[in-house]
Amino acid sequence: MTAALALGDDALVLSHRLGEWAGHAPVLEEEVALANIALDLLGQARVLLSLVGDEDELAYLREERAFRNVQLVEQPNGDFAHTIARQLYFSTYQQQLYDRLARGDGPFAPLAAKAVKEVAYHRDHAEHWTLRLGDGTAESHERMRRGLEALWRFTGELFEPVEGCEVDWTALHDEWLARITAVLDRATLTVPEGPRRGAWAAGAGRQGVHTEPFGRMLAEMQHLHRSHPGASW
């Protein structure tokens, strides 16, 4: 179940990253919004990982190299604009991918049909903030630009075919780029021009190769379960 693990890990890891905003968001409404998005993703992760095995064992007891999420979702939150850039890239991808999976008859169709409606709200949230920050003050514009630039090199990996997902990945990429371009255009921002992956990278998240911050994130996510095996509320 390569695909269930890949999609489940994307949702789990991004959920954890968004959860890190709790207590740190710029305004109360965003505190609530980011936590709600994290909760939706956690629900999706639970369904997907349960297709593979025991959800808790998979989340808490796997080593870094066994995770199959794309590197984009493991990137640290940065400032709020950085998080919004990550949300824009990922939620646009997830919405378009799940929309395709929902129309197919594969094993993920029921979850995708349900989740795509939730993810539509995530994308809406990211697009609204991209417009506000991009077309806001000089400071907010610059921060949004920096976030988009910094994360651009992690976007190439999104369109590497995932075994078990019957999707036209080229068409998915073109649709994604068209949507991102349209949003950034309205936000008075431009699509970054740099490479879509690091030349130095020895592989990518789908192969279990992750960036340095991921290890620290996992340590925090897993330490309670590993310190107190079998503990429950």
């Binding site: 609530v32 709600n36 909760l39 939706d40 956690l42 029921p110 349900k114 989740a115 539509a120």
Partner: protein, 167 residues
């Protein structure tokens, strides 16, 4: 698709009991009014299977809904109850009954409007203030106290309120 057998009188009665369980986060509406109780079947004497569907995939209320349904059926003489979660077809706010919508509004939560054909987000119909009835209300945030609600404010009476957003 196999046409399900018509419900027996016992199934109808048990379904009424399970359907009357209040939603743990929105206790003014029942599971039947919310549209999340999908099926109830008597598999054998004393053995019942129930199908629930979550409003949102990550809805944390689902576990306590299942526990409450089990309890009420145990209390009415069914020793063996299995509650299954079904995702398909996906739940939508269109499944909330007219009575459920009325109760939400009465409790200060603006009920959802009809869903747009193009997806849940595109629609931006007027949402009336559940306190004063004014149509002059403003979206503050797409996300609110639970996954299923958005936060709005009434520009007439200035009260903030929750809106059960379309899904």
């Amino acid at each position: 698709m196999v046409t399900p057998a018509p419900a027996t009188p016992l199934e109808t009665r048990l379904r009424e009991l399970a359907g009357a369980v209040p939603d743990p986060e929105l206790p003014m509406v029942s599971l039947a009014e919310l549209g999340v109780l999908r099926a109830l079947r008597v598999m054998a004497p004393g053995r019942v299977e129930v199908e629930l569907t979550p409003t949102y995939t990550g809805c944390p209320a689902l576990e306590s809904m299942a526990a409450d349904v089990e309890q009420v059926l145990h209390d009415h003489g069914i020793p063996e109850v299995t509650v299954r979660t079904v995702l398909s077809p996906p739940w939508s706010t269109d499944e909330i009954s007219a009575e459920g919508r009325r109760k939400l509004a009465e409790s200060g939560i603006a009920p959802p409007g009809p869903r747009a054909a193009g997806g849940p987000v595109a629609v931006d119909l007027t949402v009336r203030c559940p306190h004063c009835g004014s149509a002059d209300t403003k979206l503050l945030s797409r996300f609110s106290s639970t996954s299923c609600k958005a936060l709005r404010r009434c520009e007439t009476c200035r009260e903030p309120f929750d809106h059960f957003k379309e899904l």
